[in-house]
Subunit: 274 residues, 5 copies
């Protein structure tokens, strides 16, 4: 963590990252709920929404589309990632060098580390190389810290998530992206373990508006610095609408109720809003 | 995908690539149907046909023959490839560096990636290195995207081919070469998944004129940008003739019937032309 | 061992190193006995204690916190280390290069070598690279010499510890950190094997004040050059107090009794002080 | 194949290479039939024979002996090779870099590739590196193309040898050295597959004069460009004599009968000379 | 072998190398017969004896002690070596680069190669790198050529030792260190196989004065160029005395009887001196 290194992808120390690498990680099947978002143009347009502080894409998408949006969108270069055709122990190929990403116009880099994988050590060393190159190019560093592998049965326990954010701090991430550990207390513990580095929660699979906003509200209240989200936005019919709600929750300290109002969305569980 | 990076090997955004690396990939047995094409001179002469936008060969062939044809032929340097003496999990040695290919006069590079192989990650990282070097030398990038490996039983399903073109887009290919997925709908889906990068279909084994042209016509109608073809041209007695037909279909929007007329070839299934 | 290369992290040829990498090596669980020390600020404040000659941390902690303490604390950059999510044979990823550590302001580097591990050879070669880079940047070199692996059942026997310090000498460490081998005689043998390089004992798990100081006193009397300690300080309610005692024992040749007096701590076994 | 790149080691496009790396590949046992040739001086003296266009040796032999013969002998630096103490799958260590070989005075490099070995891919990539470095130093490139490995039971079938020469062409050798495939027709096929690159046959184990010359005569008539020979020369009592005969067959288009006359050697099978 | 490259560590083409890396290779247990020699100072003092042409040590010992002896002792930098905690197939980590060794003041390098090990190929390639770097720094090259591994039951047969010295010659050593093959005839054969490179015998475990000198005398008479010795000197109560004897045998062509006289040592088997 270098103070202010992540300024380009945060606002008031908070961040809403649109993560758009499902086409690589999961394949076209992930676009089926909302086929329009298979088109990167659609996603870059979404990324011009005020709520979005950065869009995270792989090299080819950045090469082909970012030039048209560079005035309005902040680029987070996701450097590694692997197709799910891969059958081996969790691992991720490095698809993009920091030097090339900086030329394409990135303001920050993103890098996945699978703690507990048999490839943990090589992934951490690849992270080191990217992290130090990012420092030379004054780019922020975001770690996707996802413990995963043969020895890990349940990677979203509070202890594992707290370890995940600590790995981000110790290894030199400015922001660490982790799954929501299930409770505000666990999230708060994970945030504490990150010291003065930031933590964003991962958006996960699509849930209903109220549930999603409530989880984000809890995470923010527990000290998280925002959200990195993909499918939970892209798989909706009206992705702009949920971005309105997320903006209220993340940047304007809105309650879930107020955020649903902003969205014009009906609560599915009104009792929980009391 | 960098806009216009592939200009040297396309015409009106379409491409017909003569792929001539069977001698390496399959060995001399592949020349038996038309022994004359074992001689690279014969292939470079074919590549002077107006229809051909580039010839894809390995380093040694380029060193020995390209100098005599450099005014009339565009060179696509196929950087990796492996003999079929290799018994291991699908993999491909890197036989040529971009720097050397640029010196020999290449206008673009070609690179095979076997998604799903146990060597997928190293192949993708080798692709990255070649792709970024190609950017520095202003060479176009063509990915042979062929999912293959222990875990993949049927690599030509629509889903797999759509994933193949998406890999090309995400990882930074300008053009992705894939097998024909069996139907125009599937081809169209694959083309959509490639975003603004291009897709060419692989020519495959020799089929009869009408069948071959019909498949290419379908692929073009489904949005493909052309064809990369080897055996399906070289194993014919009169390769120039099929190139005439392909030129009509790919660049002149000819119907299969008109293309057969151009070739002076009798339809084998006249009913299908109605 | 290069004469005086370790001057920045020693005083009168003695050293008390605060080692703070439990968050990486063991995870947040190690902070539970004294949660305040999960916060790196708390540790850097402790490191301003006169007794402390250096604080050993990983890159991310140094990036985020050292700038606020650089006038008062000496930085020992712990270059490698691995989470305990790792299930493989003992190994350690290299998380930090010497070049970057020097830029962050380190005065010395620390590096773990697991002699006897199936990864011994690669770890020793990584140590070589770090050691030689440290020489170019005039940084001291501390080896965490911890034999560990399938073939080693009991890594704290006198013979193993003596071999550990010899490895430090032969491979080029200025200071070698080893576990206490159980007796002053064994410690003395280990110190002898280190030739003119220095040996510090590892603090290990928390023990009571008297026992801990007695072990350190024995080690110093046997020729050790000090202590590298983490949990045995951080897991106490009053870490400053034990640092007072350690200062007396290590730098002022105090007896255990006198050191307990300095601390205002009651002996748990008064008879042993006679 | 780069035109004329092999000029230094050919004469009228033909080549007779003395290959002297048995000491490494097979060990001292190979010198037993003619112990004098264990002495490299004896071999370099032989290499001054007019028939010899190059001598192929490993680095240490070149360092120690070539300086005394550099005016009279052409050096082909054999870059890789392995002792037969090696028990693993066929592989060859790279014992010499092109840069060093060029400094020692080499005019060409030699490199073994075991197609079909589990190490094929790494060997081909090492060949690439050597081949491209050779291009930068204007050195000719000779590939020892020897399919060998678990999956290959019979590596001297016509198909395998034709594949071997094609690998040489495709991968960028100027000259490919292969075993004799058993018949002139098979040799001719292998030569055809090599395109405009050259093919030399491997001398193999010692056979009688007439048999040996007849095989070479057949190979030359089938289009081969010469011979690379070791034991079949060195294990004779009078190596100069067989070189006289080989010179006649390779460079002067002599019949076997005439070559035996030149040697003053009696035919063992006079009927075959009719 | 480059003529005169080893001048700094030979005298009249003969060499007596004190090899002092037991602390790394075998651990402190090797010093037990003569504990004083655990102290490198004691060994460097011995190395000032007229008989000694070089002392072979690892990096850390050289860093810490050589500066005090550089006017009187010649440094042979032993670049690789591994602790016997290592349980894997024979291998040796590279602990020291040539560049660093040259800065520390080395006049030659030493490198172990285990022919026949599953790591043979990587060790030979590491040797290549060191050997070529040594050439750039004008340092002599000594190979410890010790066939060892799963497939080798008896590594001291005459054939194996002859192969060992041939490996030294072919791969580019100036001097090859091998075990004594058991007879003068076998030693002579090994020396012959080394061509114009030099051979020194390894001193082995401690034997009585007469036996040891007789073996060295035999080796010298068989053409060896000297001795590299460690335990057989250091484990004696009076190491200077045996150095006197070795000086007589190696450099002054003394008989065993005369050498024992020089030493003031009684023959244990007077009959053998006749």
């Amino acid at each position: 963590m270098i103070p202010h290194a992540d300024e380009a992808i945060t606002r008031d120390d908070k961040s809403l990252i649109l993560a758009y690498d499902h086409g690589l990680e999961h394949g076209p099947v992930d676009f089926e709920p909302n086929p329009a978002t298979a088109d990167p143009d659609r996603v870059f347009e979404l990324a011009t929404h005020d709520a979005v502080t950065a869009v995270a894409v792989q090299k080819g998408i950045a090469e082909g589309y970012y030039p048209s949006y560079e005035d309005d969108v902040t680029l987070l270069a996701k450097l590694n990632g692997t197709s799910n055709l891969w059958m081996g122990e969790p691992n991720s190929s490095v698809n993009w060098t920091v030097e090339n990403a900086a030329e394409v116009g990135a303001d920050a880099i993103g890098f996945t580390v699978y703690g507990g994988s048999n490839h943990e050590i090589e992934m951490v060393e690849e992270f080191r190389e990217a992290q130090e190159a990012a420092r030379e190019h004054d780019l922020g560093v975001v770690m996707w810290s996802y413990p995963r592998g043969q020895g890990l049965k349940n990677a979203t326990t509070p202890d594992t998530i707290a370890y995940s954010t600590r790995l981000g701090l110790e290894l030199g991430a400015d922001i660490t992206k982790v799954k929501y550990p299930g409770s505000p207390e666990a999230m708060n513990h994970a945030v504490t373990m990150a010291g003065n580095s930031k933590v964003v929660m991962s958006g996960g699979s699509k849930t209903d508006d109220q549930d999603f906003l409530a989880t984000v509200r809890n995470a923010m209240d527990a000290g998280a610095n925002g959200l990195a989200v993909g499918r939970n936005v892209f798989q909706r019919d009206n992705p702009e609408q949920i971005l309105d709600g997320l903006e209220a929750v993340i940047f304007e300290e809105a309650s879930v109720k107020d955020a649903l109002d902003v969205m014009g969305s009906e609560p599915t569980n009104p009792a929980a809003l009391e």
